[in-house]
């Protein structure tokens, strides 16, 4: 394909422009190399960012291609328990790489009241809507009944929440949902969950 290499000294920003069929496809100026569309193909080349950073746009440009990395974001969120309105501590952080999301949280509250389930809500991204149930860790610090052993966290597909489960020492693999009976007072726990998001 015929092209033109043009050094543009007319414009005030002095672009080094690359044109195909009279249209700019890329230009270089004091801010760097800018492409106006298309794909930058670097076959046989290793990309080595001199400053060690790759920046994604603040708003994800989602790709359906299985080999395309389309997002990175890190931030905070505020975990909550459905049915609990008062907390001593609510801390949450997340990292999202493509569709992969990892969340960590810490919750502390005084009274479980009449809680029928330990549903952690307000996750920063929706869990993908499929038949895969992400399983995470739940670490009881204080306030969990002695018979409520082997705590785990299970995400609910197509939602922004996960439920805490436990088993009793004698019942083996039959997990029960946490409720106010399995929780005492001064409840404090940490948790983490990795899951695939919807986009």
């Amino acid at each position: 394909m015929a092209g033109i290499l043009k050094v543009d000294q007319v414009q005030s920003d002095s672009n080094l422009s690359f044109q195909v069929a009279g249209a700019n496809v890329a230009y270089m100026n004091s801010t760097g190399l800018q492409m106006t569309g298309g794909t930058l193909s670097l076959s046989g080349t290793t990309i080595i960012p001199a400053v060690g950073q790759i920046a994604f746009p603040a708003t994800q440009n989602a790709s359906a291609d299985a080999n395309t990395l389309d997002d990175y974001e890190e931030g905070t969120w505020t975990p909550t328990i459905a049915g609990i309105s008062s907390y001593s501590s609510q801390l949450g952080v997340y990292v999202k790489v493509g569709k992969f999301v990892h969340v960590y949280g810490l919750l502390e509250f005084t009274d479980s009241g009449s809680l029928t389930a330990l549903d952690i809500t307000n996750f920063p991204f929706t869990i993908a809507n499929n038949s895969f149930y992400p399983v995470g860790a739940l670490f009881p610090v204080t306030g969990f009944s002695s018979g409520a052993a082997a705590p785990v966290l299970q995400g609910t597909p197509n939602s922004t929440q996960a439920r805490g489960y436990y088993t009793t020492d004698s019942s083996g693999a039959n997990y029960n949902s946490y409720n106010s009976t399995a929780l005492a007072s001064g409840i404090n726990f940490e948790f983490s969950l990795s899951y695939i998001a919807t986009a």
Binding site: A58, T59, E73, E74, G75, T76, W77, T78, Y94, T121, N122, F123, P124, F125, T126, Y133, Q154, T156, P157, N158, S159, T160, Q161, R163, Y165, Y175, N176, S177, T198
Partner: protein, 85 residues
């Protein structure tokens, strides 16, 4: 002397198919008018959840999205999607 400012703004609001409203609050630090740092805090509001203490623009969207029918469908979907007891 440089002037530093901090602004908070809801820069993304998404409504999913089942009515969940997800939004992102960006905290931006500027030096002499030029942004030098940015952090994010995310929140999700499921149908039926109290949103009275949320930002006004988020409340307006929740008021439209969280209809009684959407709330009922979401609750049914959550129960159906739970694998455990």
């Amino acid at each position: 002397m440089s002037t530093f400012t901090e602004t908070k703004t809801v820069d993304q609001i998404t409504v999913t198919e089942n009515g969940t409203v997800l939004y992102r609050e960006a905290t931006r630090i500027s030096k002499d008018g030029e942004q030098i740092a940015q952090t994010f805090h995310r929140t999700s509001l499921t149908p039926g959840q109290d949103y009275s203490d949320q930002p006004d623009n988020v409340k307006a969207i929740c008021a439209v999205a969280h209809t009684p029918a959407v709330i009922a469908a979401y609750q049914a979907q959550i129960e159906a999607n739970r694998l455990g007891q």
